[in-house]
Symmetry: C2
Subunit: 221 residues, 2 copies
Amino acid sequence: MPDTKVQILDAAECLFAEYGIGAIPLRRIIAEGGVNSAAIHYHFGSKEELVKAVFKRRFGPLNAQRIELLNEISDEAGDGQPGVEDVCYAIVAPAMRLGQGTDSGRLFRSLAGRLMTEPRYMEVVFSELFVEVDRRFDALLSRALPDLPEDVRVWRKFMATGSMAFVLREQDLIAKVSHGLCDTSDVEVTIRRLVRFMAAGLSAPVAEAVEAAVPAEKGSR
Amino acid sequence: MPDTKVQILDAAECLFAEYGIGAIPLRRIIAEGGVNSAAIHYHFGSKEELVKAVFKRRFGPLNAQRIELLNEISDEAGDGQPGVEDVCYAIVAPAMRLGQGTDSGRLFRSLAGRLMTEPRYMEVVFSELFVEVDRRFDALLSRALPDLPEDVRVWRKFMATGSMAFVLREQDLIAKVSHGLCDTSDVEVTIRRLVRFMAAGLSAPVAEAVEAAVPAEKGSR
DNA sequence: ATTTAATTCAAGCGTTCGCTTGAATCACCC
DNA sequence: GGGTGATTCAAGCGAACGCTTGAATTAAAT
């Protein structure tokens, strides 16, 4: 069957995650996957199409799961306010749990975070894979934080996304730089830490004229 | 004088910021900078050394400024607790204000954020450019948040750093995706927004057993 | 003016890149 | 079991890559 396709996708996923998309030549994927040198172009057409296929294979189910969780939270909230942590949890947990335990999953988590840092590929897959999740995430967040002005909410959504991307991508770096102080092996704990941080940032009170006031300049405290 | 060196650094900075380090061939830097094809290797030796030089030129003064601000905050606090927002401000503001107004500054801000996403280059320059800032940042943060366990503090420092890197890097993307709702042109406002988010995330209360409890699983609220 | 070192120049080396080709092989249907 | 489309194979094309070379040019010191 299309065993070759899967071998290519697996090898590409691992190599992209570890070294970055631009840094991996097709020839390394060919070697790692143990397939013929023309197989990639036969099955995918080009490197760009291969990249899209790698992301689609994982983000399709992942984002479906996120939407499912968001729906549950919305249903449970009824007419009331959903919890901010719960909303963040629906975004963070499925991504963090990807391929839990397995090596390929750990690598893909790093690749997932990397996607948000490679604008070229982000734009390519965003419209068909992320638009719906983002829309629902934003809608539920506006219900969870009704007093937050829209621009502040959207700003903070970007910031929360940035922190999530960083944790997803740099788990190895975090463990290393912190000299083992930060344990990245327990996925559920990491989810909790991340959700708490994101929710606290999103929920911060909006100081009046926070946009204009210049704080803590030297000697002004 | 070493006009050529500056032309190379300027051109490399712009191109790296806009397209990524790996995506820019030396020949494009040569063309953009209007220098001879052997000039880069004559002055810098290799592409890697050029990359290091690009980062050093900016991060040297930038991190010196951060340390200066951190020292001021520490002095003002005396024996008391420094403010978390002030500590974040010392990290965020100098980076955000880089080359304020100028085009090259805007580009380098994006490059600065990108550095944290290119582990290969991050490790190369971290030890000599960032170790001291990180040490002082952490020390002041532990005074500002004395009740936070060390591992939680370090974890949240990574997350806060991630959100900062994202905002630095993706200013254009933020303005575009938000359809102009998020105005990235006013640097001081962006600093305030970012500082507030980071400080709130860092200051979030530590739930007992937050690490172990599984929250908001379907139907458990 | 002559020497000497630093810099610039045009040309191109060897390698690796994404991708293509055309023949060989496989899988499957009548 | 012969024919047909899908897949695999070995080989290599043209272009672009980082980097090198050796001569020409500049600038400063004597």
